[in-house]
Symmetry: C2
Subunit: 195 residues, 2 copies
DNA sequence: CCCAATTCTTAATCTACCTTAAGAGTTTAC
DNA sequence: GTAAACTCTTAAGGTAGATTAAGAATTGGG
């Protein structure tokens, strides 16, 4: 199991001793997804918290009119799950789908409860996770209200360097909140400006 | 001190015995604000979690271009504070200002820590607060991406019944993310439709 | 109570972004 | 390996909402 990356990721917020580290690793499950396969479908209960080892996921929802809105991408070293559904074990609002062949390491809700019980450090990890999610969401709201599509495209490129070449244009357009046609014309204008 | 309303509000999520209730009440501070007075200015540390007993507050931020964006109103029976600033004791992103003469009951950060220590129920109250804030924010993002200004106006009216007559049009416009001029023309169209 | 400042409305003009359509390029399925 | 199904681009025309400006209504300070 490819576990270097996830330990590195944990080390950014908490410190574990070798016994705790082994205990944590013993609770992980691996899963491989093919391009387009779903990790979670809206309406299901989100039973796992997943960490992307390789590949990329997209988190999105369908509005009542049936069009998709991408709210987040999760390439390597990102976590992806429906926080609300995982916490309350209620029906998920979001779907999570692989945009390329993807490998994840996941922790079930039951195992996370075990971890929280036995390794107090994970309380902190969890609290930070909620806080970070809230703050990130807040930033996105701010940015969306305050900036135009071309600025949001710049911000997307800064947040996910290199991802623009791995992801379908239509998904990027959806993330930015514009139509694929408009993104296309924005990209053309941007290219022309470099001459 | 007008404490009926706040006890009622707590009872919606947790149950306290008489001793705990008295302890909680002993930690509250009252404050009166005149119309236009600030409860919190962006940049300050948010030291209190405030509950509105009467009147109304607005939570807003100034974008780099200097224009105001209202993110939330807090009339009677609502809580208002900058969650991130209160939790981390960092500089606040939002300002909180009274839109009419307002009375609040507030709990300082230090007293909240005391409460969390002595009345375990408040852990739950706090967790629910975070969760609710996250979910509410998520809903707003969803709605803003998925609906037009006139639908958002309907949603505003449903969320804050009667508030449209107490709040300045320009603040409602800012909350909806449109200009006051556009809100004005929307209202006119809406009135004409009723004939 | 009055003058100044702020807020609200109306209307004309302007722009970012959408819609529709159609052709070219790329994947997928059998 | 080829047809079917997506995806991306270009372009024309349309619309929600911004901007500017100016007058009317309301509010506030002295």
């Amino acid at each position: 199991m490819q576990s270097q990356l996830i330990l590195q990721n944990l080390a950014e917020s908490i410190r574990l001793d070798p016994v705790e580290t082994d205990f944590f690793l013993s609770l992980l499950q691996g899963q491989k997804l093919r391009r387009r396969e779903y990790l979670l479908q809206a309406g299901e209960v989100c039973r796992y918290q997943s960490f992307v080892v390789s590949g990329c996921l997209k988190v999105s929802y369908l509005d009542p009119a049936g069009s998709e809105h991408v709210v987040k991408f999760a390439p390597e070293n990102w976590w992806a799950f429906d926080l609300e559904s995982f916490a309350l074990q209620s029906g998920a609002f979001y779907s999570i789908q692989a945009t390329e062949d993807t490998e994840v390491l996941k922790v079930s809700r039951a195992n996370m409860d075990l971890l929280l019980d036995r390794v107090p450090q994970f309380e902190k990890f969890n609290r930070l996770m909620y806080q970070t999610a809230y703050i990130a969401l807040q930033r996105r709201v701010t940015q969306n209200l305050a900036s135009k599509a071309d600025e949001r495209y710049q911000q997307f490129q800064a947040k996910y360097p290199g991802l623009q070449n791995r992801i379908a244009q239509k998904d990027i357009a959806s993330y930015l909140g514009v139509t694929p046609e408009f993104l296309s014309s924005m990209r053309r204008r941007e290219m022309l400006m470099h001459f």
